[in-house]
């Protein structure tokens, strides 16, 4: 696949240190994710993957450098606007699925639309929110009538697919997945990856998935090791 189009995510000279932390600092010279591209970001525990995802989502802001997402420099946005921007443009799949324990599957799938009017509008141009949730659940091979089920009644695999539906609803431009396969066995992992990639492709989204499992590499257009981005230095190294 040729990705000469404009990048959907571009990081340049980004540095971040958690306030009060003397042990950890993240520095990335450059990183780019193109529109429609599927990238696997490999890294071990403590390598800074979660911090990088928080930076990309605009939940935290770097002390130095620029992060441009869908043509917008996140640093130029206020905290409130960054939150809204995240809601409108990014779908997040957590490592531990993180479905709200209360409420139904429908409540969870439709949750991003509460904070993202544009995603809601996108759906309402051709359908309605509930129908779109139903369509995604069917596409992800979830059982009929699951929208009214409580999340606590679902299997692990079903919970993970509900988390994917929640990330995809309203067609955000970027899907960020934080080790979504870590709780699945090999067979379930394969089935899940096929479903995820199929739906990401259907919605024309870009995918950045973080994992420590190199066996997933063949699903992606590109694999980036977080260490290769010159990402983590200890404070002691930084001072040397």
């Amino acid at each position: 696949m040729n990705f000469n189009s404009e990048p959907i995510i571009a990081l340049h000279q980004v540095s971040f240190t958690w306030p009060g932390s003397r042990q950890f600092a993240l520095h990335i010279d450059s990183f780019t994710l193109h529109r429609g591209e599927r990238v696997l970001l490999l890294g071990q525990s403590g390598s800074g993957k979660s911090t990088l995802l928080s930076l990309l989502c605009g939940v935290i802001a770097p002390q130095q450098g620029t992060i441009v997402l869908a043509g917008t420099n996140l640093a130029s946005l206020s905290v409130t606007k960054r939150d809204r921007f995240r809601a409108e443009n990014i779908g997040v799949i957590f490592q531990q699925f993180n479905l709200l324990p209360y409420g139904s599957v429908a409540d969870n799938v439709l949750l991003p639309l509460v904070f993202a009017p544009k995603r809601r509008q996108r759906i309402q141009q051709g359908s309605n929110s509930m129908a779109e949730a139903q369509r995604l659940c069917v596409a992800l091979q979830l059982p009929d009538q699951i929208l009214s089920a409580r999340t606590s009644e679902l299997s692990v695999g079903q919970q993970q697919r509900v988390a994917v539906a929640r990330a995809l609803i309203g067609q955000p431009e970027v899907i960020i997945a934080d080790e979504p396969t870590s709780a699945l066995d090999r067979d379930s992992q394969q089935a899940f990856m096929n479903l995820l990639l199929g739906q990401v492709a259907d919605s024309d989204a870009s995918l950045l998935m973080v994992s420590h499992d190199p066996d997933l590499a063949h699903y992606f257009d590109r694999v980036v090791r977080i260490e290769d981005l010159q990402t983590v230095t200890s404070q002691a190294e930084a001072l040397c």
Binding site: C57, T80, V92, P112
Partner: protein, 416 residues
């Protein structure tokens, strides 16, 4: 939007939330209940006597005159002469007078000499008149009418004999002239319930053989002889006065207070009742302070609950953050939850009060003579509910701020 999220989040913790709502509801119900009892008691107290424009007695304090003549508490400093009372009765503007004579007792209840007109003129609680539950007013010299509490506590029925004791704490009894119960009044919630009423002439009759508080030696005057004796009293303790027109009250009061032949005093019952209520207002304030403290305790308990649950909810906050909720939204979500809890508590508390009042109104009236109005919440009660809501919002600010800080620090990456 936030209300829906807050509602579902509360539902997920329904046991804790239900207990918190119940605690707030109980405290609100207590507060409003105290307020209802306070206003009901005040209204019942102010309605102890109605339809009487002036109470006339010997010159003393207005509260003291009210206490001994209406509430039968304490003793008169002096009596007023029968002649003076006749002069008062003949003053222009006076419609009627009902004399009362106090001094004797029956067990722990006061005996009051009066005329049969008392049963027509005495009014209470918005102009209600005395009703006979059984029997009728006195016809014979030794007939007596008793109040509802006297009948209930002493188990008296029509026809039962009553022996009057001399004075209030005396062991000397007028046992040579027992009375017969001819009437039992319906419950009024006023001091009348605790009174034994006899005719003025009967009071004179039982004291014919007495001198300066002791019984004369020798045989008692037979009842039949007493019935034929002229028994007009020389003095009475006080008198209830009705006027022909309310505009006459002040001029009559002035005229009586300036009566030249005897030091008399006329007080308006409403004014004196108001003065007396102010004296007991300290207890009212104490009740309000206690119920306010109960509310404060419930709200602090709610705050402690929210604080205790915050750590467990960091993942939930992180999900909201990932979906695009800002820290401010998290703050508002917590505030909304608290408002829903406090609002539900207030609503349930109000309902509890009204259900309790609806079921117990009649019983409370019968047992305690306090009529608790079942109307819409008063302005003061509504203010109290609003104040509780505002206080609830205030105490929820701290945990909401903590959640705000958590959401800033955790972002969307809490792992537990």
């Amino acid at each position: 939007m936030l209300i829906g999220l807050a509602y579902r989040s509360l539902l997920a913790r329904k046991l804790t939330v239900a207990l918190t709502v119940l605690a707030i509801a109980m405290s609100v119900a207590l507060f409003l209940g105290v307020e209802k009892v306070r206003t009901g008691t005040q209204a019942s107290f102010m309605d102890t006597i109605a339809g009487t424009d002036l109470i006339v007695g010997a010159r003393t304090g207005s509260v003291q005159l009210l206490l001994y003549s209406v509430f039968h508490i304490g003793n008169a400093t002096n009596n007023i002469g029968w002649d003076s009372l006749q002069k008062v009765s003949n003053l222009p503007g006076v419609d009627w007078t009902v004399p009362i004579s106090l001094g004797d007792s029956h067990r722990q209840f006061r005996v009051m000499g009066t005329t049969a007109e008392f049963f027509e003129r005495y009014q209470f609680r918005r102009g209600q008149q005395l009703n006979f539950a059984q029997g009728n007013a006195f016809n014979d010299l030794f007939d007596t009418v008793i109040g509802a509490d006297v009948a209930k506590q002493l188990g008296y029925h029509l026809g039962d004999p009553i022996v009057v004791a001399h004075g209030l704490m005396s062991f000397s009894k007028h046992d040579e002239h027992p009375f017969r119960v001819t009437g039992i009044l319906a419950k009024t919630g006023t001091p009348v319930d605790r009174t034994v009423m006899v005719s003025l002439q009967a009071i004179e009759a039982i004291h014919v053989d007495w001198q300066q508080g002791t019984k004369k030696s020798g045989e008692s005057t037979p009842a039949q002889v007493l019935r034929e004796m002229p028994l007009q009293p020389k003095t009475v303790t006080a008198a209830l006065v009705g006027t022909t027109s309310p505009i006459k009250i002040f001029s009559l009061q002035r005229a009586i207070n300036n009566y030249p032949n005897e030091p008399l005093q006329a007080v308006m019952p409403g004014v004196a009742l108001q003065e007396l209520w102010h004296l007991v207002g300290v207890a009212e304030t104490a009740l309000l302070v206690i119920s306010t403290m109960v509310i404060v305790t419930a709200l602090l308990g709610m705050m402690a609950n929210v604080f205790a649950g915050l750590n467990e909810r960091r993942r939930e906050m992180a999900i909201y953050r990932a979906m695009g909720a800002g820290p401010r939204t998290i703050f508002l979500l917590l505030m909304t939850e608290t408002l829903l809890v406090v609002g539900s508590g207030c609503l349930l508390g109000v309902l509890m009060v009204y259900v309790f009042l609806g079921l117990g109104q009649g019983y409370i009236d019968q047992q305690f003579g306090i009529w608790l109005e079942l109307g819409l919440p008063s302005a003061r009660e509504l203010q109290a509910i609003v104040a509780i809501m505002v206080a609830g919002v205030c105490v929820s600010v701290l945990p909401a701020l903590r959640a705000y800080r958590f959401s800033l620090a955790d972002g969307m990456m809490v792992k537990s």
